[in-house]
């Protein structure tokens, strides 16, 4: 990757020992960590501010479904890393298989997420709070277990965080399909697999954010 390669040029100054695309992706992921810090930090701050009246996640959210969803995302992370391993050994068939599996797993995750959103909105949880007269309102707000403001805050923070994570996963799936198409055209044969590794880094990052999100929002 030395610039303007010409004979007997001394090696370019020793950088960080990582090729430029990977370094670029890691630097971009550092900024994404700050972005999710803002969102998750707000959730923690709002929750700490209204500690006792904060809804218990199990009452509103469907834990088993999202646990399965987490499992799907972890599997997609594994298939991604398998694809990278295949790419390094120049095993084109394996690369294509694992990439397709990763795209499918990612798409399932987003699908389950959309299903969960539809179910929650139907139940009455909105970004602005709990819709009055909705089954959720009947169960929680009217029975006094949950104040309207705390529900409002929970709705706002929940939809913003998981919404933006879903958005990042969707972008990942779209980019992954381009990578897969290129893989089917043999774009990553002959040791040129950097593209796979870079998209893999992004994908694992998105999985890592979900692991933290799943614990903080759904379990605690």
């Amino acid at each position: 990757m030395a610039p303007a390669v010409q004979p007997a040029a001394p090696p370019a100054e020793e950088g960080i020992g990582v090729y430029t695309q990977k370094l670029g992706m890691w630097v971009f992921l550092a900024s994404e960590v700050m972005f999710f810090t803002a969102l998750i930090g707000t959730y923690i701050i709002l929750r700490w501010g209204s500690a006792e009246s904060w809804p218990v996640p199990q009452d509103i959210l469907n834990i088993p479904l999202t646990a399965f969803n987490t499992f799907v995302l972890i599997c997609s992370s594994v298939s991604m890393v398998k694809a990278y391993a295949a790419a390094t050994h120049d095993d084109q068939k394996g690369l294509r298989l694992w990439l397709v599996l990763t795209v499918l797993a990612g798409a399932t995750f987003v699908g389950v997420q959309v299903l969960e959103y539809r179910h929650l909105i139907h139940e009455g949880l909105l970004p602005s709070g709990i819709r009055d007269g909705s089954p959720l309102a009947a169960r929680l707000v009217d029975s006094g277990k949950l104040t309207a403001t705390a529900a409002g805050l929970f709705g706002s923070a929940f939809f913003t965080m998981t919404g933006f994570h879903g958005f990042h996963v969707t972008c990942g799936v779209i980019c992954m399909t381009f990578v897969t198409i290129k893989a089917f055209r043999g774009g990553y044969s002959g040791g040129r697999f950097h593209g796979v590794e870079v998209i893999g880094l992004y994908w694992h990052f998105v999985d890592l954010v979900w692991i933290i999100l799943f614990t903080i929002v759904y379990l605690i």
Binding site: E13, G15, Q21, A38, T42, G49, P127, F159, C175
Partner: protein
């Protein structure tokens, strides 16, 4: 979110350039063309912000009287030329927004980082040329959306460039809804553009340095731009997150910052200023880098204390993330937090003073050439000292309690932003114009421009310290309403007149800039006799910059080396007999 970064199109050779016209000038991926595009964009928004400042100053100097030429404004903004309070707030907001986000930041990081980093480190281009092109082309929609705010119902955002919630949260309080939404979307798109730029600058400086260009041989301007990119990389996403939540409060009815819905107004201030303070260091660090290069060149003398200058930049950047609370001493924040933020803010005066004393040390026993960039760099140094010293008044919490949100703060902002960043940007433009366009700017006009700007700049902004001490609050539509401010109205008139003259003082620069673009004398390869790598290539440098990658043998500041025929020693000239110092 373009994750699949295309592999770097290797094999970029200087010389032959077969790109079609569109790819070469409009959607160019050449860092030099992008740098020049940023230059024209930021100068346009600088002019726009300046015009808004003129209308603001007219209203403050002569409250209630029609603005000359104001009759063209529609009645919603200025019935009969007299601007409304709502339009005044919109002007104040957009003056701050345009100047900070669309003028000074692109002028420093967009223009000089893009143009100088690859040339100064000996790289053919940026690490990700396409991302670099996107980073410029995202600025166009961002700027347009922000500007469009003026023409929507209710006018543009009117809650200050800091957009404090709940004023910025709901149209109930300012009568502005579409304008604030446009402002939010514009800043988010600007954030994306700034992020792409930062990723590019970091990856380029880390990985694409020419052989021999070790970390301690990097010019200080590259160091400053590199650390600024890290600041922007880590601070801008927080702003994007905070503004997305503000946008959802406006659009989706969420309650992040609305107290009625249980939200926390102080949360917005914390998130905004956590970005805000690194932001003001993003605005000043590139200026410090440019000034370090220009002063060393002007004094024909190595920079004084290169290593301590580098650590000072790092110190400022590191501490920059721990001081944001000093914007919120009286905002209802927990007073114990006020104490810790006062301590960290006081500490940040130390690296800043190190840099100032090192610049003075550079000029000490130098052989000072007063070329126009050097004049502007000296202007930066003298004005930044005032800005830095007035900052200490704000760091002391009791004094800040009195002067917070008064014109003392406005004076401080303009001493570091105008006196600091803009003088350094002028120094940078005069210094690298010959390299960018292959033509030299007119020296006499440059001196007139500096002289007039320096005088009227001080006449405009120094009296603001007096206004602030008298208790004159910021963002007042008509200061004469307050009985205790009425006796200070002559200062306001004086400041307004000086501001108009300051604007007029920019004419020599505008004329000089455009006239020299086409009819300036042909620029030699190295007009300032500088050591850095960009002066070893023709001006303007061809696509791909270097015919073959240069090898670097010494630091960038080897001026007046004893025993050398000339008083400068370019970085890529092989060491003659004896081995260089470092």
């Amino acid at each position: 979110m373009t994750a699949a970064a295309a592999p770097h199109d290797a094999g970029l050779h200087a010389g032959h350039d077969d790109r079609p016209w569109l790819r070469r000038y409009v959607f160019s991926t050449d860092h030099k063309t992008i740098g020049i595009q940023f230059l024209f964009l930021s100068l346009t928004f600088l002019l726009l912000g300046g015009l808004m400042a003129m209308v603001i100053r007219w209203q403050l100097g002569f409250p209630g009287t029609p603005v000359p030429g104001g009759s063209i404004l529609p009645d919603a903004m200025a019935p009969g030329g007299v601007i409304r309070p709502s339009f005044y707030n919109a002007l104040v907001t957009m003056h701050g927004t345009f100047m900070i986000f669309f003028a000074v930041m692109p002028l420093l990081t967009g223009v000089f980082a893009n143009y100088l980093i690859p040339l100064k480190i000996g790289a053919p281009d940026m690490a990700f040329p396409r991302l670099n092109m996107w980073s410029f082309w995202l600025m166009i929609p961002a700027g347009t959306l922000a500007l469009a705010g003026f023409f929507v119902e209710g006018g543009s955002a009117a809650s200050g460039w800091t957009a404090y919630a709940p004023l910025s949260n709901s149209p109930l309080y300012t009568g502005v809804s579409a304008g604030q939404i446009l402002w939010c979307v514009a800043i988010i798109i600007f954030g994306a553009s700034s992020l792409l730029g930062s990723v590019n600058y970091i990856a380029t400086v880390v990985n694409l340095r020419a052989p021999g260009m070790t970390w301690m041989r990097l010019p200080l301007s590259v160091w400053a731009l590199f650390i600024t990119a890290i600041l922007a990389l880590l601070a801008v996403p927080i702003l994007a997150g905070a503004i997305i939540m503000l946008l959802f409060d406006q659009v989706l009815g969420t309650h992040f910052y609305l107290p009625t819905g249980g939200g926390q107004p102080l949360l917005w201030q914390h998130l905004f200023w956590f970005f805000g303070h690194p932001e003001v260091y993003i605005l000043i660090l590139p200026a410090m880098g440019i000034v370090s290069d220009v002063i060393a060149n002007g004094s024909r003398k190595p920079i004084f204390g290169y290593t301590s200058m580098v650590f000072a930049i790092g110190g400022i950047a590191g501490l920059g993330f721990m001081v944001w609370g000093h914007h919120m001493f009286v905002s209802g924040m927990n007073p114990t937090l006020g104490t810790s933020f006062m301590a960290s803010t006081m500490l940040i005066a130390v690296p800043t003073s190190i840099k100032v004393f090192n610049w003075l040390g550079t000029m000490w026993r130098g052989n000072i050439h007063f070329h126009v960039p050097m004049l502007n760099a000296i202007g930066f140094l003298s004005m930044f000292v005032i800005g830095g010293l007035s900052g200490i008044f704000m760091a002391a919490t009791p004094v800040d309690m009195y002067i917070h949100d008064t014109y003392f703060i406005v004076a401080h902002i303009h001493y570091v932003l105008f006196g600091g960043s803009l003088f350094a940007a002028f120094a940078g433009i005069y210094y690298w114009f010959p390299k960018m366009f292959g033509r030299e700017m007119h020296d006499g006009l440059g001196r007139w421009h500096f002289g007039l700007t320096f005088v009227f700049y001080n006449l405009t902004f120094f009296p603001m310290h007096l206004l602030g001490l008298g208790g004159h609050m910021r963002r007042l539509y008509d200061p004469t309403q307050y009985p205790f401010l009425a006796p200070m109205q002559p200062i306001n008139v004086f400041v307004s007149v000086s501001a108009f003259l300051l604007m007029a003082a920019q004419l020599p620069f505008v004329w000089n800039f455009f006239w020299s673009l086409f009819r300036g004398p042909k620029a030699p390869l190295n007009p300032w006799r500088d050591n850095s790598l960009e002066w070893t290539v023709p001006s303007p440098p061809p696509h791909g910059n270097f015919v073959e990658t240069p090898t670097v043998y010494r630091g960038p500041y080897e001026y007046s080396v004893p025993g050398e025929p000339e008083d400068f020693l370019p970085q890529d000239r092989p060491a003659p007999a004896r081995q260089e110092a470092h």
